[in-house]
Amino acid sequence: MSRVHDMGGRHGDGPVAPEPESAPLIAEPWHGRAMALTLASGALGQWNLDISRHARERLSPGDYARFSYYEKWLAGLADLLVSRGVVTRAELAGAEPAPSDLSARRLAAEQVPAVLASGGPTSRTGPPPRFRPGDRVRTRPRAQNAFVPGGHTRLPSYAAGAEGTLILAHGAHVLPDANAHDLGERPEPLYTVRFAADTLWPEAAPGDEVTCDLWESYLEPVA
């Protein structure tokens, strides 16, 4: 079933606190360090974007709620470095570091602009789409990974078992549910699906809508 990160629609959080647009986007020096360390460690190629997202989702609910944003990043990074064998638990606890055969993959300062500029597109050659814009579809009854219990998925719980209308087709993209678990990219057609908000929440204003970006295997046709 769902994990703590899947909070869309949850009650009890109170008001949003807007900030002045002039406020720096890196509020504390260590925030920038944590962000940059995460990006540079990703360049070692020992995990992908979906694995790193799932590492943050796998924090205990207590840690997830207690940690600030970049503390989640740091904790996810530390857990990944150990689980992917990049560092040992002893090294993390302060033991003398051993040399690593991954050092040839180290991201050098002069490589950074090109790496950030190219990013990591997720579009792939894949199977032809089963659906087209205008089609009515229904999402999986539960927001769960079909391969791994408790695994990563990008279907939010609030949109599980919901009927909507497909409005955009994006071609085939890497399937996070597989890619987060070392099961390969298994590209599938990706769509944007529009839901009438009052079918998700009865109190929603009539005419309001919510969209989600959903992979083909999350969807079934509505006759």
Binding site: G8, D13, L25, R33, M35, D79, L81, H181, D182
Partner: protein
């Protein structure tokens, strides 16, 4: 990877976040896995070079140039790349336009997906539990907290960024700006307006 590690390795690091990040950076540097100079370049990029001014230029161009607007709505990735905006967390872009009938608001309920090449790093409120939880269920309440009241007859469409598609909201062009230069128009377009949590500023 299927199983949770009940003994999370991150708990081996010091409790203070600043010490934690320093301990990790030191360890990875000593192992030859991190170039601290690369971290400096990444931080400099997202604190000085990439920010909401990029998105504002895209919006101002769309307001000024109907053929660019059409391209942007058809293929935002290509249209933004033509202005030099592309890359990490903006590999696949979609632009959505506010109208008198519909207001658009962007959220990522599952994490914090955001169009970095156009807007830079997300602000704290975008990453907050309150925004992630409430934007989809109570968008009008959230907009009121930003001081935004919708016009009568305007519906809200909330875009939950659940894949690698990143959304840019094109706000409505303020009245009284006919004939303005793109630079002057860009000055009216703030970050919050391009997430849909604000509106473009009117002429002073």
């Amino acid at each position: 990877m299927a199983h949770d590690d009940p003994d999370h390795p991150h708990s081996l690091l010091p409790p203070e976040p600043e010490l934690r990040v320093r301990a990790l950076e030191t360890l990875l540097t000593r192992k030859g896995l991190i170039d601290p100079g690369a971290l400096d370049v990444i931080i400099e990029t997202y604190s000085e070079k990439v920010g909401p001014r990029n998105g504002a230029r895209v919006v101002a161009r769309a307001w000024s140039d109907p053929s660019f607007r059409a391209t942007l709505l058809e293929d935002a990735t290509a249209a933004c790349a033509a202005l030099g905006y592309h890359g990490r967390q903006g590999e696949h872009l979609v632009a959505v336009e506010n109208t008198a009938r519909q207001h658009n608001l962007v959220v990522c309920t599952l994490c914090s997906c955001y169009p970095w090449p156009l807007l830079g790093l997300p602000p704290s409120w975008y990453k907050s539990d309150a925004y992630r939880a409430r934007a989809v269920r109570d968008p009008r309440g959230v907009l009121a907290e930003f001081g935004v009241t919708l016009a009568e007859g305007q519906s809200v469409r909330v875009w939950d960024s659940t894949a690698e598609i990143r959304y840019l909201v094109i706000p409505m062009r303020p009245e009284g700006t006919e004939g303005w230069s793109e630079d002057a128009l860009a000055d009216l377009v703030g970050r919050d307006a391009m997430v849909g949590a604000g509106l473009a500023r009117g002429p002073a």
